[in-house]
Symmetry: C2
Subunit: 713 residues, 2 copies
């Protein structure tokens, strides 16, 4: 069994009851009429990855056949568990999954582009031209449950808004002496690696791929963007092991990407340089790519963190990031591969005494001038904010600054700065806010008047619907490890779920996505459990914001591990993350008028909105302005009283979260109940610590007492 | 050769020129008259530890014979190098080393108790009743050089003030994931261990023992007081390896001690408890000690860190530290062994919000009530200050509070909080100040009037000359590793040298000790080199104090590694090291009147001196009092102006240190010159960082400008 010693997340067998109790059929063009496809491969399928024979045909054939076999096995599994039957497609099935590929097949493998759902008189037909899309359609029906069959007749087409939806694993092969097996991982070890080796048993990887397929994710980068010596070898010596991982992901239509070191030609190839314009270097990468695709024909491409936090890159050779990325793009292009090139480039050896250098400016300063120079198969991957995954940042101006570039939005599912999966923080609302943000306000683009059309959102830019029409999709750092609950905190599963769903459709409502997750994860959940999970999670992101760094200032965490408060922890470091608090006030002046000029990286109207104290939103005030503690917010409170009030309120909210869980813990399995209780206990302790340190810090600095006279130390 | 790939420190061959060019003789009671002793064993001696046959005779015999063979080899080596000769003791030697043991030999091995130096008409005779003392006498003559022979006729007795002089190594066998091979080590790896094993080649350990013999140290604890699982096994499975280390130390009269885990009966012995009053536990320890002494007949004893920073101890069993220490003392007593029991016990999970708990009080609160209950072979080892080896602390009140206990003073040669051997900080003056400090002021003891006799010093207490007459000696954490220069910073060798010399004779003048070190390390040093080294080191401790945490407040270092500034780094942690700075003032109120009452742990006059703002010395003001930034010091400056002035002065002093070294670097070997230059460059960078962070912190907090208008950020 796949689901043996770990939690089934949002795919417990019970979640398949509605479909599994019905008559199901699968049809592909290769079938003899009426004969169920692939049922003979069922047992093999359930035990591990499909071993398809190697042929000279296109790589997509291999994936296609593996995924079709998976679908067949899914139908078998569901019906066996719940009393239905797999029938011939002409045998009046309740649900027919039909592969109907374009004819003739395109030379390049098409991106899975969605599926059609037809319901007529209680019978459902899902049609797709790509097996992976058909698999996504299957899980859509699973997700809908009874509604899939009981609803009125319909004919719908479901397609992901963005063609590229990827999860990045910051997993190390070797255990890193500081970062451990998974960098910024809070769910145990890696599901891929175990202390220096790819795991012998990769069955859990296949189960992971199944969870991803159920939320529409079909690309995974399997190693840390900080590529150390051991991990670099995945590109060469360890390709057979990478192929094993790819084989474990493939049955669920998930393609494998690798993070690579820009210095590989030197460190692995023995060349004297990694200069991207050096012919020998270009040849080395082309050859390396050829070998990779021979080993993994449906390989996805490379992810690169270059010239960032000590990683090698083109700067050392006097080249720029377009030179570097395009060189790799040339190497992977013959195979239809992608290069995900991260825009997270800044000076991490900054001098805190130098107030003219602004880390927030760095990505735009580096990348905006390169717009138009990147090859078509380069995706420039941009963190959602200009600094680093803080609980509150403005949206990165880079996303709107490169219309002639495929730009991807990078999110962080792993809760590095949002409680590290010890705190219950549902990030759906945060991502939704980012995805819906309108870089040109109510205008459709840089040259449009506000009434020129539908306002363009970040989701539009990532999916190629914005000005310029490029789109690099959405990527995120995974929160999964070898923990029993996959994500450490059982409720953090909801973040992985929501990421996939919002990447597929950014218009989804986060509480509704949470409902989907609750329905699947706790089949038949009583109303009070549903209500409690909503009460705990719906506002949890804002709750976390309340008791941590205030008003968008960010980075008041302990240096290094980033857990818990340390208000001055980064204040005098080289990392460029300062708050400049003194006895009079706090905040970073990023205005054009008197500060670093970062506001000028935004198009109108935001360049003016953020520039002015009058219009800057309260929640970002200290990100853009240095103000006295007595500055009055739009809320009517002073900055310092806001700090006191929010921090006390944040703890009170956590206390209510704890109480709500205690009320309903008996409604979930004991192991889930205990783990969530333990984590909530720690969240309460940590929230109190945050409250007390932050309020004490501001009280000691400002000398302004709390209007309500609460205890401050 | 012993001195091949690493620096000879204070024993380069050239340092032996004066003695080596003369006629030398060695006489022991076993000799046939006139026949040079041990010359046939010379080659073996130079290649490694002596392999003495195992006999049933007393353990001291084994040491004695090894040390005599060493002496013989020393004479050979010196005369070979410098043209002298080893002659018969009746053959009119310039220097005769004569062993003249007490007759009859005592049943228990005596502590090496010193030597007699007789000079008559340019001929010198050194006599001792113990081979190790004779060895110390030999190195005394080496240290004196020409003066040994040229001075007026004399008859002197030289004895160490304290019988127990020990170095503690915080070396791990396994590389600790955070602390590395050597905890708080700044000189590379361990000389004993290499990543999980005792080194195969221990020749450097013997060379280390030679350096120690030359400064009079004769006991070494070879493993970290934080005893992890791997290290615990040194007590049992790895005894043959411990015996190898002991064999490598023995030729220079250095005895081996082990740090042991109080939980050993459980973790190693499989017993259900480590309760010190449990008969099976007592038996286990007695048996363990028997086995240790069988393997290492001249073994010294155990060092224990119990109930401290997570180490196991008697508290878990409802017992106190006397119960725990006496149980071990009983086990080692039959072998003449010692138990060094550390008084570094405090609550390291303190709540920063709780101002009533004071870490400074902890050792006295725990140990003073136990005075009189410790066995005679227990040494209670007390850190020099009440907190943790800060650059400036008051002397620990525990030292004067236990007249019926053998109390040892613990110093830290490794520069954990004093620049980590990247900063040139000569600690001789700091230790001298501690050793000369008078716990009862001008009185000789608690019941004496100020004119009642010679004032008692800390050195007196450690050597058994204080009230009660006990004495536990002096111990220190070593600063030595496998670095080419032994200590990372070549000038940090002077600290190891000075520790040995001051432990032998606390009355020595630190600059004079530095002169000895210069003469030996740089034989024939020109006057300008000597002057420069004095200019760099004589005031270096105070210089470091100037640019780091001010006025005795301590602990403004980066948490974890403890290097570089982080003013608030420990302010909200569980470690009990707070400064309580707010916009108005700073400092810890430890008075009896309004604070934690710590001042009450001191006898008169200090309990009054420290209690009063009027009499508290400036350099300890913030350790004892919380004052406004505008408080005027005895110096006439305000606290905040003092902070500004000292920090700018500290950097200016470091700049002068750099210049002085540049002037004389050509006078020392290139490798020494380069290493010192590199370290001084880092010291200057770090001092600037300290200055800027600390002055900025106080400026931002206080809002009071620098009177001199210097740059503050």
């Amino acid at each position: 069994m796949l689901d043996n010693d770990f939690h089934p997340a949002w795919l417990p067998d019970a979640a398949l009851q509605t479909v599994g109790s019905r008559r199901l059929a699968l049809r592909s063009p290769d079938d003899e009429a009426g004969v169920p496809v692939g049922s003979s491969s069922r047992d093999r399928q359930l035990e591990g990855p499909i071993a398809t024979e190697h042929t000279d045909r296109s790589s997509s054939r291999r994936t296609d056949r593996a995924v079709l076999a998976t679908l067949s096995a899914e139908l078998d599994r569901a019906t066996r568990a719940h009393g239905g039957a797999v029938v011939g497609h002409d045998d009046e099935p309740d649900l027919l999954l039909a592969l109907d590929p374009a004819d003739p097949a395109p030379a390049e493998p098409a991106e899975p582009a969605g599926y059609r759902l037809l319901r007529a008189a209680g019978r459902v037909t899902v049609t797709a031209d790509h097996p992976t899309s058909l698999l996504h359609g299957w899980f859509h029906v699973v997700r809908l449950g009874a509604v899939a069959f009981d609803g009125p007749d319909t004919d719908e087409h479901h397609a992901p808004v963005s063609a590229l939806r990827m999860l990045d694993h910051w997993d190390n092969v070797d255990v890193h002496p500081v970062m451990g097996q998974v960098e910024r991982g809070y769910a145990g070890g890696s599901i891929f690696y175990d202390a220096g080796h790819v795991r012998a048993d990769l069955s859990r990887v296949t189960t992971y791929a199944r969870l991803l397929a159920a939320v529409g994710i079909d690309r995974v980068a399997i190693n840390n963007v900080n590529v150390a010596a051991r991990e670099a070898r995945l590109l060469t010596d360890d390709l057979p092991e990478v192929a094993r991982i790819a084989a474990a992901l493939r049955p669920y239509g998930v393609r494998t990407h690798l993070s690579v070191s820009f210095a590989s030609p030197v460190t692995l190839g023995g060349l004297p340089t990694s200069d991207p314009l050096d012919p020998a270097v270009r040849t080395w990468w082309r050859d390396a790519a050829d070998v990779v695709w021979r080993a993994v024909p449906d390989f996805g491409g490379f992810v690169v963190k270059a010239d960032s936090e000590g990683q090698p890159g083109p700067f050392a050779h006097g080249r720029d990031h377009a030179d570097g990325a395009n060189m790799l793009a040339e190497a992977v292009a013959p195979h239809g591969g992608l290069v995900h090139w991260r825009a997270f480039v800044y000076n991490h050896t900054q001098d805190w005494r130098d107030r003219t250098t602004d880390r927030a400016r760095a990505a735009h300063d580096h990348f905006a001038p390169l717009d138009g120079r990147f090859a078509g198969n380069v995706v420039v991957q941009v963190k959602h904010g200009p600094v680093d995954f803080q609980v509150r940042e403005p949206v990165s101006p880079v996303l709107a600054a490169m219309p002639r570039t495929r730009v991807a939005l990078e999110l962080q599912v792993t809760q590095e700065y949002t409680g590290q999966q010890r705190h219950a923080v549902y990030l759906g609302p945060a991502w939704s806010e980012i995805l819906r943000w309108q870089p040109w306000g109510d205008a459709a683009g840089p040259d449009d008047a506000p009434d020129g059309g539908a306002p363009v959102t970040v989701a539009d830019l990532a999916s190629g619907r914005g000005p310029g029409g490029q789109g690099g999709g959405i990527a995120a750092v995974s929160n999964v490890g070898d923990d029993r609950f996959w994500t450490g905190h059982p409720l953090a599963q909801a973040n992985l779920y929501a990421f996939g769903r919002l990447a597929w459709d950014p218009a989804l409502d986060p509480p509704a996505v949470l409902d989907e997750w609750i329905d699947l994860t706790f089949p038949g959940a009583p109303a009070e459990l549903r209500a409690a999970v909503h009460a705990i999670l719906d506002e949890s992101w804002h709750t976390y914001e309340l008791y941590t760094a205030p008003l968008g200032i960010g980075f008041m965490v302990r240096p290094g591990h980033h857990y818990g408060p340390d208000v001055d922890g980064y204040e005098y470091t080289p990392w460029g993350t300062y708050h400049f608090a003194d006895r009079d006030g706090i905040g970073v002046d990023r205005t054009r008028a008197t500060g670093t000029g970062y506001t000028g990286q935004y198009p109108a109207p935001w360049r003016e909105v953020y520039e002015s104290l009058d219009s800057c939103p309260d929640e970002l005030l200290l990100f853009f302005h240095h103000v006295p503690y007595t500055h009055v917010l739009h809320s009517g409170k002073t900055v310092v009283q806001h700090v006191y009030d929010t921090h006390f309120e944040g703890v009170e909210r956590v206390e209510r979260m704890v109480e709500r869980w205690e009320d309903v813990a008996g409604l979930v399995p004991d192991d889930v109940a205990r783990r969530v209780s333990d984590r909530l206990t720690e969240q309460r302790r940590s929230a109190v610590e945050w409250r007390d340190q932050v309020t004490t810090y501001f009280w000691r600095k400002s000398g302004i007492p709390d209007e309500q006279g609460r205890t401050i130390y």
